[in-house]
Amino acid sequence: MSLHVHLPGLELKNPVMPASGCFSFGKEYAQFYDLDTLGAVIMKAATKEPRLGNKTPRVAETSSGMLNAIGLQNPGVDKIISEEMPFLNEYALPKIANIAGSSPEEYAETAKKMSPHVQALELNISCPNVKEGGIQFGTDPDLASNVVGQVKKVSEVPVYVKLSPNVTDIRGMAVACEQAGADGLSMINTITGMQILKERRRPLLHNQTGGLSGPAIKPVAIRMIHEVYPYVSVPIIGMGGIGSAEDVLEFLLAGASAVAVGTANFHNPFVMPEIIADLPGVLREYGFSSAEEAIGGAHY
């Protein structure tokens, strides 16, 4: 059973990788298993300058989900390259850098620095948790096109755009990004949510709102990928609530060519190697002879 999938810049031995921000730069989960088990790694967002992120509390729990408002904390692109990449470079697996910024120029500058060190970029135009960090680019097709265009000019590697689900028209956003030159899409980032601390009569998260992730949002992710798939020709990396090999198959059928796992890692640090081990059996059970065969299978 071949789990191999091919995407621009990425030959993946299996379609499973960690979602950005849930895996830092890999060191921690490397204590649990060999990172080369994974299809690829998507790193925590990188910005031009270091960012401290939001004040705590930064996470809350919801029914079958969680809210986070980390706020793009990261040591800045230079330190990521000098201090975090060496560890990851000891592994053969493809590396994808997640890039955020507060202006198209900042995106481009970070992308330019990062791209020689990775196999692909993922533009985070959808972080709901910082004032200047992306979500405005992710909700306006013109702004999104601008960012994508500028990054494409400087990137040596394929550029994936991570879409925000907090929009009226996801298809329009996807098509705009493709037309601006995106080599692929990542769907979906978190849905903006809030929890209120009744004792204190205020939002629990210091940032007030946070991004909802986990199984709760899976049906929204599946819908959006299924909606976008027929209208774009670039591949989609699917994410949102994945926690099992069955979930992975559902995303492939909806139209994803590969998937990322976020929140589930916190539940079970071994979830990705377990999914990868289960995937051949699940594909077989549902009548597929390879992972690639399942991609887009729910479209007829």
Binding site: G21, C22, F23, S24, K27, E28, Y29, Q31, F32, K44, L52, G53, K55, T56, P57, R58, V59, A60, E61, T62, S63, S64, G65, M66, N68, I70, Q73, G214, P215, T263, N265, F266, H267, N268, P269, F270
Partner: protein, 243 residues
Amino acid sequence: MQTYDMKVVNHREIAECTYEITLQTDVFFPAEPGQFVHILVDPPHQLRRPLSLASSSGREITVVYKTFGEGTRTLANKKRGETVNVLGPLGNGFTLPEQKKVMLVGGGVGVPPLLWLAKELHKNGKKVSAVLGFKSVNQVFYRREMEEYAEVTVVTDDGSSGEKGLVTKWLDPEADVYYACGPNPMLKALEAQLAIPGYNSMEERMGCAIGACFACTVETTDGGYVNVCKDGPVFPKGRVKLP
């Protein structure tokens, strides 16, 4: 690092809404005082719950927790013989002191890790005093257990057991070093009040509990940041800007 399916061998309410659970493992579980575990609770909960170790023999661990919210209430339903999935041991434990006279200051469920620490300190021949603060008499626990290793002062908000008021009113003036575990306002008050060196065991909401998600990041006094889960939960006094 590993997760362990552990069997509940003991589970009892030791004070109002406060439970002591003892879990048994087949595989050796290496841990030291001040470390914590990240415990899985049943669906629809996605996040584990970080809880300090009140003791560990390598084969059996004990944790004491308060039922604040839904996750801990779910945990409280676990019966003897059932299985609990445990990630850990996590974080850095207490650094044992050079000093001779050690004061432990615990607030509520901050007490359990200090009990294990007291035992170690006692073993090492230190002179240990412990100031244990609780809301009121119904919530007091581990007084007798602590008395085996330390000179204990129990303090309750309402004076219904021991002394009345906050722990900060009943500190040991003779101590050369202190170890505190409890709510941030308590840690802050102690930092302000005490001139001696000390260690704080901190709480923050967590995602991964291993340093990968930055949920638990707090600023350090030198403008950097650390993760409570991986770099803590114990920090020397003055290292972290207490929120």
